[in-house]
Symmetry: C3
Subunit: 384 residues, 3 copies
């Protein structure tokens, strides 16, 4: 299994889906997306007759919610998937009403087409779109692309451990003194105004430490431009507490990134065993038209190139390597070689396996199936 | 199994085989082709000693029908495959006459090198080259290339069903009103002046029809350039009746394509599981030298670009997709999701499995082997 | 198994390993190479925590022999592989001293970094670097590159059989009349000033012969530029006797190639099943500075382009094909289709299997494991 199926996932942006259908592979299946009279539809992108893609089909009967397969002219109802006609066999073709193609529930919110690929009845899409993202006054900006690796490796990238080392030399933190580590770091599951998330807290941010046999770290000498004290960024946005959080079915939320006062969401949409589609959505709340212009300027001149692109590129390189590592190891659980910040990953894996809708996926195993041994609570393995 | 082996297949054009040997992969094997004193020869393209390609070999003894492997100088008789010498081991080398490379019967007809890769004794090449193509007064023009997909998917593309939908928007039918469907369509096996073929007939060509819940199809409004009534093209060529036919081991014949008065043959030569070589041979019968010039003009200015290239490109895209579909399904038999025009495919599969020389290949199964269940007659599954 | 593991192999040139670590795949494993205070180190190129490459790591504590993983800041001792710190978990991280990454012994000789990947304790590197190559007064020049094929196919390329046929038309032998074959050719194991080698001798070099049914070979008519008698080149270098020799773990030595008075070594370093790294080392012994300039001129103007590059390129093409052949056959043993010059290969396979340090690899089998049948002496199969 490639991901938790009983969730709404972003498929494409509304503006991308026009008269020309789209073919999008998600959760291991190839889907075709159509727009008819302003409404979006999704089917399996395979004509049941000869298997050619319905996304290559033609709108032979404008005004109806149908598509005609380009190969032999079988016409499909985009709503319920029934075969409405087989044009080249005449109106009395015996296949009419006797064959069906799979269709998928589709909703549009915030300029994004969301699709439900679950085996259970869909929940309201409002349950799955983070509530702050979904607000009417939220201005969103999207960057997305196919990325090498397994989405679980990116989900498990989240946490402060990598941020303090990997992103230390990113241009986005050019002027900040990144701290060394967090003392008494504790992950927890939090319910906030935006939904339910795995979040973290710690007692103290240690800016510099002495490592036996090695020396002081980090040293800032020779880097006068790092004049600002780093650490937790202000988290007064909407009363949220955790700087970085992780939610189901695979959403990362970061406060004040890539712009102060904004919220950044990453959606990890599984494509196949070795690829996922990374959605990077930056949310801002402009107070007035002038503020909107100012935020756009900050986003395009700084936030997108330095944050959304280059900062996250560092993560993507590591996700590529740790995906390959998980395949070599046969597991996404890093035990027994974990250290204290990995408690975040362990809690996420445990939380996801316990609470996700539907059953069957185990985020810790490489093939996604749940074995007896893996299904047990993971607490014992948190500590080395 | 990749194809019916006990047939003559086109390998290359005579003009391509000069002093430099050719390496051509067909029916899953790599063959080397040679020319010696005007005569063509074929061997397995692998020296039995170290496996290096004999097509890289040298003609060290001009005047003899032999080739010397470039690696260690083992010399092979191109006629019977015997080892004639191992040059770097001296004239008394013990391998002489003790090792053999496989050779293949080769014939040249109409400027094409035909090869027999069967396990039975070869039939006369005249049995396998379509008789109209083989006539002395036939002018042939060849386009060929390696194509993605399984040859069986291209063979099963043949039939009127796809033509009326897929090719509807091809520039080759720009001025014609393509009809909607054929009433009482019946495929049959026909013996004609050109050999034995699976062909079809129908009672009526229906130009336009009303499809319940959808509307009239096709509509021609706004397309005044489609002024000509389409339908069956004249089939008075050599008394042939069927516009499109399919013969063993995988040959498609179309009348009046791409030029009126001409015949078009497609040979599907299996290469490996995912590729075949598509030979597109256009035949014309010029009445005099001026007519020959006129036909050449029509071919190069219209028939080849619009017909041989662009029209058939539409098929190649669909063959790619339906080949992949057959692999996913594990079968080339589209049952139970077939419609009436698929009777042509079903008859072809049944005919090919029953009458092809040799045994073992089942054109309906993806791996080509014949299972008990599949070996039974297919009539019951023709209808939905 | 990919090669004999209990040997020193060349990894890179000393000059290539500077401040920036290198990632090199050898014998199926990815290694990271580092330089600290002039000294070279090697580790498995995989952080035990999340599997990201240590060759992407940072030298966070200059002056210590350590590397910090770029992902989460785990610091590793390059000498013994101990975890020295987990920076983002603070100085008291419980993983310190509890996890270890594999390190490999490294030595530098003659400007080359040699690495020991064996499962036994390393022998002195002097045992494995050919002694003439290792001499202080030897001037070496290196060309190396990743090559398609299995190293064993290149080792088995060695011998006079291929040279007299394959290299006959190389520009490097432009002016020489290559002979036809060697009479009473006998391979043997030789211990000389340079180490232990599989070498060969023969009673007579036959320059031309008459092959029944084919004719005289080689003929030199029309090639007046081939005025020099070929045959064994002078072998008076350091008292060595064999023109071409083959040593463990996969080293080819050729006298007077590509320059008269020089010695040429080829090291075959296994990379994966389908690739090896070919090291081509030309040794010369200049008598004085002026001679050094003259030899450099001969090397760069003639020896490297005509010998090291083009002459050996002919071998590489054949090795590619015979590697593929061995995979198809499932064996590197060419029996029963061998001829007398193959006695060299048979002796090499037998010698390597019998005397190489460590156990387990069988050079004749494609997967490298030793079966009961293959482990028996190979003498019976030398003759056809």
């Amino acid at each position: 299994m490639l991901g938790f199926r009983n969730y709404w996932y972003p498929a494409c942006q509304s503006g991308e889906l026009k008269r020309r259908p789209l073919s999008i592979t998600m959760l291991g299946e190839q889907l075709a997306f159509f727009r008819r009279d302003g409404r979006a539809f999704a089917t399996k992108d395979e004509c049941p007759h000869r298997g050619t893609p319905l996304s290559m089909g033609k709108d032979e009967f404008p005004g109806t919610n149908s598509v005609a397969c380009r190969y032999h002219g079988w016409v499909w109802d985009l709503e319920d998937g029934r075969c409405l006609a087989a044009l080249t066999d005449g109106p009395d073709s015996p296949v009419v009403g006797r064959v069906r193609v799979r269709t998928y529930p589709v909703e549009e919110r915030k300029g994004i087409v969301w699709v439900w690929m679950g085996n259970e009845a869909p929940v309201p899409v409002e349950d799955d779109v983070p509530r702050l993202l979904a607000r009417d006054d939220t201005k969103i900006r999207v960057v997305k692309g196919l990325t090498y690796g397994n989405w679980r490796a990116h989900a498990e990238n989240i946490g402060y451990g990598h941020a303090l080392m990997l992103h230390r030399d990113s241009i986005w933190v050019l002027t900040r003194q990144n701290p060394a580590f967090m003392r008494n770091f504790t992950p927890y599951v939090s319910e906030d105004v935006d939904g339910e998330w795995v979040a973290d807290r710690s007692e103290e941010i240690v800016r510099q430490a002495e490592y036996p046999g090695l020396g002081t770290w980090p040293t800032l000498k020779g880097k006068p431009w790092r004049y600002r004290k780093g650490g937790r960024l202000s988290t007064d946005l909407f009363g949220l507490k955790a700087f970085i959080s992780l939610g189901l079915p695979g959403i990362n939320r970061v406060l004040n990134f890539p712009l102060r006062g904004g919220i950044y969401y990453e959606f990890y949409v599984p494509v196949d065993e070795d690829h996922y589609r990374l959605w990077q959505i930056t949310c801002t709340w402009p107070k007035n038209p002038l503020d909107a212009v100012w935020q756009a300027l900050r986003y395009y001149a700084w936030g997108r190139p330095a944050g959304v692109r280059r900062f996250i590129q560092q993560d993507k390189v590591m996700v590529r390597h740790s995906s390959d590592f998980a395949k070599r190891q046969g597991s996404y659980r890093p035990s027994p070689k974990i250290y204290r910040p990995d408690a975040f990953h362990a809690l996420w894996q445990d939380y996801a396996n316990r609470t996700a809708r539907g059953v069957g996926l185990d985020v810790t195993s490489t093939n996604g199936t749940r074995s007896e041994a893996e299904a047990e609570p993971a607490e014992e393995t948190h500590a080395l």
